[in-house]
Amino acid sequence: MNIFSIFWNFVIMKPMVNLLTILYSLFSDNFGLSIIVFTVLIRILMIPLSFRQVKQMIGMQSIQPKLKQIQAKYKDRKDKESRQKMSQETMSLYRQSGVNPVGCLGPMIIQLPIWIGLYRAIFKVVPPTPEGLANLSSYLYSWNPVINKIPLDSFFLGIDLVNPVQQAGGLFAVLLPLIVAVTTFSQQKVSMMKSSDARQEQTNKMMLWMMPIMFGFFTLSFPAGLATYIIFSNIAGFFIQIYVLKKLKVKHSLREMLSFKTSKSEDDDLKQNESFDVQVKEENYEHTTISRKNRRRSNKARSRRIKGKSRRS
């Protein structure tokens, strides 16, 4: 066994499989409920990462005009020296603003093994094959009380969570892909930030529609458990993103998020984004410090007032 597989099995898979099975026991042997609770729990545990990700994205947004200026400055200079200078200036801008160009990817990369582990853990727990059942033995802790309940009941709301959605039959075969698509759309809509680049904005808009359609279509061949996971992961992600944006005081209202405006001219977009960027920057880098200072001042004033009252009395 190499180091990677030891890490993967002992740090990711085993705790996930055991948590999922313990939740199964806690929620009256209901595997559907244990997937939902498990997904939401993992999503909640990853809130700090979401904060970091959004902060980095906001930071990137706020330095866009300056980045554009640098790019414009060196637009017609193709020599090696100029290129080097441009990258030096860009890097120093990143440093000054405390932004890492791949900073918003960092949390995603940390999340990557968690996502994959979560997907895999579901099917490790209710293995549809004899091979899977044999493999389960190496994931369960010896003290796990679920051992006498194996194989776990994979039925939830009348459907077998291990079978593909298209085999679920009736209403579920249509509903599940539809809900997956809608929740994927909502989650993406709430996570996407406006880009100052019109072409990028166009790509974002395309992805906003393409991904939910793709996910919805693929869901037909997914096991129903996976569809359940995606739905609740999206729902949890939607609310967590709103919470994170609200906490960071980003002007990104629900109405704005759910509006389907078509793009105006490139200049309009740029202006709009620049004003948005400034607003975000102010709110996040100045407003927060001012509000902290104000809070400190008002606290001091309040304590002075209390002291004065006590002396008078």
Partner: protein, 429 residues
């Protein structure tokens, strides 16, 4: 920013692709758990492609015209052990019914009976299709095949079924004489992974299931059973933990079984018969218990009055069972530190008056253990492991490895004698 966003989408797609690939891989019934089967001169080998091949035992050459099923057809994946009787090879495979491996639970098993000489089915149909998966082996008794299944349809209250299938050849029958092949089937509480144990003298089967259930099924034929096959179940005893390995007989009325908690339990059966020789009542009593390390998954083997078993965590045990003193004790135990799991169990053999145990691991080599001391003596060199039980005959050990290669090694010096790649259909190194 645009690069970052593009990267972000790329990362999402990579996560998605990785996860889905992983899950889909977990959904496929790969099989490759069935051992080669030997008769006097030939070896019948199931391949990863869902077909059976025939090889000469003497020189290892493949019988080129012999294949079942013919052409590009496939039976799916092989799990249970085959049996050979009067030149007929009986077995079962599990597939999606469209010449492919099963990708999820809703698949069917094909039970087949092939003329070992011609490679043709001895029945009208190429195979008998039954619901559920056959993971354990078949039992042939008085021209009837008994096969236990794991039920696919989880909305069905039964965990599995026991099928009785008419094994007789259809070649001597006229069209009018052809009757339904499935004689009866009875539901069982748990999914069945092991091979039913036949008590041929007393005419009953003992089956252990994943619900921890042990069922005693009467095989006698009476009028009452014809109208109500369910009444064949004479006992359905629930024990605490799932039973995967087959139940074994240790003496006249004593039997032992292992479960996934690692408990080895032995019990007595007291059977009262009715006047018509069918079973009246059964008294079940557990008399001994031993806790071992890991899931007891594969079958327990009896060899020279000792019992051997290997758990999925790689612990090998030599056990003595004394039913008179109601005692189960470990003679020796040894942890085998190889990669993967010993899903196939173990095989025992004798060479030059010395007894050996061979334990294949599904991601590693086959360990060779000394029967007396439990010491590791060496390994049969294999790259990617073995999931089926090796068969020893005439100082040769025959194995099917995970790369779909049929190999044989000399038990004397562990050198490779035969290697045939069943994918490329040619010899290999």
């Amino acid at each position: 920013m645009s690069t970052v966003k593009r990267n972000r989408i790329l990362v999402v797609l990579i996560i998605f692709a990785f996860s889905i690939f992983g899950c889909m891989n977990d959904m496929e019934h790969k099989g490759n758990w069935t051992s080669p089967k030997l008769d006097e001169n030939f070896i019948y080998v199931p391949s990863d492609e869902g077909v059976l091949h025939k090889f000469s035992k003497i020189n290892g050459s493949k019988e080129s015209s012999w294949q079942f099923p013919l052409g590009d057809s496939s039976l799916g994946s092989f799990y249970g052990e085959m049996i050979i009787d009067k030149e007929i090879l009986y077995g079962a495979a599990y597939g999606n019914g469209e010449d492919k491996r099963c990708q999820n639970r809703k698949c069917i098993s094909s039970v087949f009976a092939i003329d070992a000489n011609t490679g043709q089915s001895v029945w009208m149909e190429e195979s008998i299709k039954i619901d559920g998966s056959v993971i354990g082996g078949l039992i042939l008794h008085k021209d009837i095949i008994y096969v236990a299944t794991s039920e696919n349809d989880k909305s069905d209250s039964a965990g599995g079924y026991l099928y009785a299938i008419d094994a007789k050849s259809d070649s001597d029958r006229t069209l009018n004489e052809l009757t339904q092949k499935i004689l009866w089937r009875i539901p069982l509480p748990g999914e069945i992974y092991g091979t039913p144990l036949l008590n041929s003298e007393k005419e009953f089967l003992i089956v252990g299931g994943l619900s921890g259930d042990i069922s005693i099924i009467d095989l006698n034929n009476t009028q009452a059973y014809e109208t109500n096959p369910l009444s064949r179940i004479k006992l359905s005893q629930i024990t605490n933990y799932p039973i995967i390995s087959s139940i074994i007989k240790v003496s006249e009325d004593s039997y032992c079984f292992g479960n996934i908690k690692g408990q080895l339990k032995c019990f007595n059966l007291e059977i009262q018969y009715k006047n018509n020789s069918s079973i009246g009542s059964v008294n079940f009593q557990i008399w001994g218990e031993l806790l071992l390390d890991g899931w007891i998954w594969s079958d327990i083997r009896e060899f020279n009055n000792y019992y051997y078993l290997v758990t999925l965590s790689g612990w090998l045990y030599k056990i003595q069972v004394d039913e008179n003193r109601e005692e189960i004790k470990i003679e020796w135990e040894k942890e085998l530190k190889l990669d993967g799991k010993p899903v196939a169990g173990l095989t025992t053999y004798t060479y030059r008056n010395q007894d050996f145990i061979a334990v294949p691991f599904d991601k590693d080599k086959i360990a060779i253990i000394d029967n007396v001391s439990g010491a590791t003596l060496g390994e049969y060199p294999l790259k990617n492991g073995v999931q089926s039980l090796p068969i020893v005959n005439d100082n040769l050990i025959f194995v099917i490895d995970r790369d779909n290669k049929f190999r044989s090694f000399s038990v004397a010096d562990r050198s490779q004698i035969i290697c045939f790649d069943m994918k490329d259909m040619k010899g290999c190194d």
